[in-house]
């Protein structure tokens, strides 16, 4: 037996209570791992270099429109190889819970910009030639039981048709598949020409442009050049990588990082109170045992360090378990939200931070009991038992 073994044994004096305490700490650190992984996505800086696809979005708000006519100016920028555009269509398919993104696009341009979306040429022709045409990913079609030739009704919430009609009916003319390892979304694509002509307002406007650069090393330079073009216009732009843009759009829905920090703060405060109370209770029960240790020759500091060590050990075990479970769950979470929030991962920094926090938590919880153990008078404690 070692001192560590002695601490470990002390933890299991009340097996059920210790397991429940470890479980509560584990849940706290599971949340820590998952939420930090997500929050980190919002905190990483813009790294534009090396990206071959950029997104040109409104500078101030994702709901601001950009004139379609910008496309020709963007095309003329040095280093731009191809440009296309998309809009947020919104709307509801049968039930608001049936959520999937719907983008009005120019078919050939869009599929050219996204080579990871693969569709037979005749279906792309049909999409290009059918005013009311639309295409969906194979996964979306499987999910909703669609087949080519079906009519897909979408009820508009943002874009009514001229005359006020909110029901848009699209002809499904193609199904595309997504290349393996590509982080493309399951999107419902409709024909921009039809959408732009039929919508009640906003004609000639798009939501964003997608740009492919000739050389990924030019990405930062091209971004600056595009934004400079429209800097003093009514609709200034901000160009970034697609991944960064998605993060920003998501973050605009709320201060995600702040919310997550607040949640973590509340969780940890609660855990500190609960665990601190449990450890204090455990200490009270074991006062005679600490007196016995001192009788045997353990110094005041030695007994205090055992108490502190137990608290740290308890938090480290709970923290390591929580972070371990978070590591197992993170790939699943990342896969689930890959389309809207790519790049979620539980990095070593988060694990190391988590373990550091667990240690600090243990020290914070254990310091008062350790001081009590340090001050414990052997004779008084033994008399209390006798």
């Amino acid at each position: 037996m070692s001192r560590l073994g002695l601490m470990w044994s002390g933890l299991f004096r009340r097996r059920v209570r210790t397991c429940l305490t470890v479980f509560s700490i584990m849940i706290a650190f599971l949340l820590f791992g998952l939420l930090r992984s997500i929050a980190d996505v919002f905190s990483v800086g813009v790294d534009i270099a090396g990206a071959d696809r950029l997104m040109v979005a409104p500078k101030y708000s994702i709901i601001d429109p950009i004139p379609y006519r910008y496309i020709s100016e963007i095309r003329a920028v040095d280093g731009v190889e191809a440009v296309t555009h998309a809009n947020w269509f919104g709307g509801t398919y049968q039930d608001p819970r049936n959520f999937f993104p719907r983008y009005p696009v120019t078919p050939r341009e869009y599929f050219d910009l996204y080579p990871e979306l693969r569709m037979p040429a005749e279906q792309l022709d049909a999409f290009d030639n059918t005013r009311t045409g639309a295409v969906a990913s194979v996964a979306l079609a499987e999910k909703y039981g669609w087949a080519i030739g079906d009519k897909i009704p979408i009820e508009a919430d943002i874009w009514p048709k001229k005359g006020g009609d909110r029901l848009w009916v699209f002809d499904l003319v193609g199904l595309y598949s997504v290349a393996e390892n590509a982080s493309a979304q399951d999107v419902f694509l409709l024909n921009y020409a039809y959408f732009d002509e039929a919508r009640q307002f906003g004609e000639g406007e798009v939501g964003n442009f997608i740009v492919r650069v000739t050389d990924p090393n030019l990405a930062a330079e091209v971004s600056r050049a595009i934004d400079a073009l429209f800097e003093n216009s009514m609709a200034p732009t901000r160009t970034a990588t697609e991944a960064e843009m998605q993060r920003e759009m998501f973050n605009q829905a709320g201060r995600i990082g702040l919310v997550m920090t607040a949640i973590l703060g509340a969780v940890f405060f609660t855990i500190v109170l609960l665990t601190g109370n449990t450890i204090a209770q455990s200490l009270r029960e074991r006062i005679p045992e600490f007196a016995v240790l001192k009788t045997l020759g353990f110094t005041n500091g030695g007994v205090a360090s055992l108490v502190l060590g137990e608290a740290v050990l308890l938090c480290l075990v709970g923290g390591a378990l929580g972070l371990g479970v978070a590591a197992l769950l993170t790939p699943w979470v990342a896969g689930t939200v890959e389309n809207i929030l790519p790049g979620i991962e539980l990095g070593w920094t988060i694990v190391a931070t988590g373990l550091g926090v667990a240690m600090l938590l243990g020290l914070a919880i254990g310091v008062l009991p350790a001081l009590s153990a340090n001050r414990l008078q052997i004779v008084d404690a033994l008399r209390a038992r006798g």
Partner: protein, 228 residues
């Protein structure tokens, strides 16, 4: 024989509220190496307090306790803890074993304070358990042992680090007669065959019969001393 333990004018008082409670008054005592001392007296006479002072668990209000060449009142708290770990083994009425540890590990506890290797600690603890006849109970926790067995484990723990002195506070107070006799026999064996100096507090005259010297305390003063 030289005096191993020497008490010189020892007094002990406790402060209870505004009142000073005098528990021991001007005790002079010499205990020779290899003695088996029994301390007797009515409840509240100061037996356990005297034992605590000899064992370095408490400090005197006046006078001093000297063990060998060491005056306990001159040691710091840390030095006193170290001294206890090297020179004194303790046996209590209620055994005071750690309930989460097996008998083997309870006996090993004092050895954590030594420089012995893990395997040496384990081996020494096993030997101590063998001396008290509990080698087959090494993996049992205190809750799985009888009172007598727990007290044997406590005795093994008391002598495993090879201290000169064993202080025993009512070691048979919680045991039946037969078991008490076994425990007292064990203490006698440690005194006779292993040369341990034993100082035992007891209410039980039959337990005191096992001692070579019997001291009586009354109201904090030594009344008389009987040698066997």
């Amino acid at each position: 024989m030289s005096a191993l333990v020497k008490l010189n004018g020892v007094s002990k008082s406790f402060i209870r509220g505004k009142e000073e409670l005098r528990v021991l008054t001007d005790i002079d005592l010499s205990i020779e190496e290899g003695d088996f001392f029994a301390l007797m007296g009515p409840s509240g006479s100061g037996k356990t307090t005297l034992l605590n002072l000899i064992g370095g668990l408490d400090t005197t209000t006046a006078g001093y306790v000297q063990v060998g060449d060491t005056r306990l009142d001159e040691l710091s708290s840390k030095a006193l803890a170290k001294w206890r770990s090297e020179h004194v083994g303790f046996v209590f009425q209620f055994y005071n074993l750690l309930p989460v540890l097996t008998a083997q590990r309870n006996v090993e506890l004092p050895l954590l304070l030594t420089k012995l290797s893990r395997s040496q600690r384990k081996s020494n603890a096993a030997t101590a358990l063998k001396v008290v006849g509990l080698e087959d109970r090494a993996d049992h926790r205190p809750g799985e042992l009888s009172g007598g067995q727990q007290q044997r484990v406590a005795i093994a723990r008391a002598f495993v680090a090879d201290p000169e002195i064993l202080v025993c506070d009512e070691p048979t107070g919680d045991l039946d007669r037969d078991t008490a006799d076994e425990i007292l026999g064990l203490l006698e064996l440690l005194n006779r065959d292993h040369g341990k100096t034993i100082i035992m507090v007891t209410h039980d005259p039959k337990a005191a019969d096992h001692a070579s010297h019997v001291l009586h305390l009354d109201k904090g003063r030594l009344v008389d001393q009987v040698s066997a």
